[in-house]
Symmetry: C2
Subunit: 200 residues, 2 copies
């Protein structure tokens, strides 16, 4: 058995931010690892329809309140960003560079980007913001910014989107554990039991 949780997410997803803050403790306690897999929800929605939660009648207003309340419920801070949703191509491409070249820093980099957006109110669509996040976790900011323009990481991004389509992702965060899919920060309680005491 592969003791790895595949976590598919988009950096613009509030519930993915919350899940990214919670999952390490859950995984580590059970002796599992997290495979952070950034993708682009826009391409998923092109495939199957759908769109940002916040644009939906009633559910949109509800969600904006629920994002912050759910964060507080877990002892976290979340300020709904002025620019939402945001273009996450630069963030995701750079994350793929980190994943390939500096895998030990990946989790911290992912959380640094999420916090820049959901706590710091920064514009994570800008390569400069992403470079700063990279530098903040001990990586080379200039190399991180360069990765965004490198065809290698553009290709990796297309492959990452294809991979998230292959596992039938339809929303974020989306966890896959040896073929079993769990959708949403709210499913981390089931993920925890699944990796701790086995499938139920």
């Amino acid at each position: 058995m592969n003791k790895q949780i595949d976590l598919y997410f988009d950096f613009t997803s509030p519930y993915s931010y919350i899940a990214a803050e919670r999952i390490e403790a859950i995984a580590q306690t059970a002796g599992w690892s997290v495979n952070y897999s950034p993708t682009l929800l826009g391409f998923i929605f092109k495939e199957i329809g759908g769109g940002p939660l916040t644009t939906m009648p009633r559910k949109g207003d509800y969600s904006i309140n629920d994002f912050s309340r759910t964060a507080r419920f877990h002892g976290l801070t979340l300020s709904f960003p002025k620019k939402f949703p945001v273009n996450t191509v630069a963030a995701a491409r750079t994350a793929l560079w980190v994943k390939a070249e500096h895998p030990q820093q990946l989790g911290d980099f992912v959380r640094a980007v999420f916090r820049a957006y959901f706590v710091g109110g920064e514009d994570i669509s800008e390569a400069a913001t992403i470079a700063k996040c990279a530098a903040g976790v001990g990586l080379d900011g200039a190399a991180a910014a360069a990765a965004n323009d490198d065809p290698r990481w553009k290709d990796a991004m297309r492959a990452a989107v294809a991979a998230s389509n292959d596992v039938k992702m339809f929303g974020a965060p989306y966890f896959v554990i040896n073929g079993e899919a769990f959708w949403g920060n709210d499913r981390l309680d089931q993920v925890e039991r699944w990796i701790t005491t086995g499938p139920f």
Copy 2:
């Protein structure tokens, strides 16, 4: 402060069944009561768009697996019904009769209907099934069936749908606690904390 959780639901909603099984223990521990408020999701969807989860690309297949898995997670049984979604007008009208005439039996009646559908595989669109559920909790089955054709409960049904629209319901189950809305069985953990230690 009104120590009452308003629970809006549709009898065809799997996550509402799970929530109805869990909420009494949560409410009673905190000294709160549950105001069971049946409505008809079809009319909500007419108002704001949307439709059954199970018809959505990818999310549909996911949900059918998640319904049963989430039930098992909470120690419950849920067999996805052959007829889904089902017409719940008869069930809801009769529930409104129980609510007005036999309020002490309402919670048990609600759970009896949910179990008939999600555990017993019965067709709850039929008045005979609903009458049997009523009889099973000590009510007059014939009176329950008659309520379904009584203009009084047809009017009550329209008022109930209007009330669920007024609180901006967009999916089920939908909880309202002194104006604060919580959507989904997954939010019962937040509901529990909200009524136990106050708003957060």
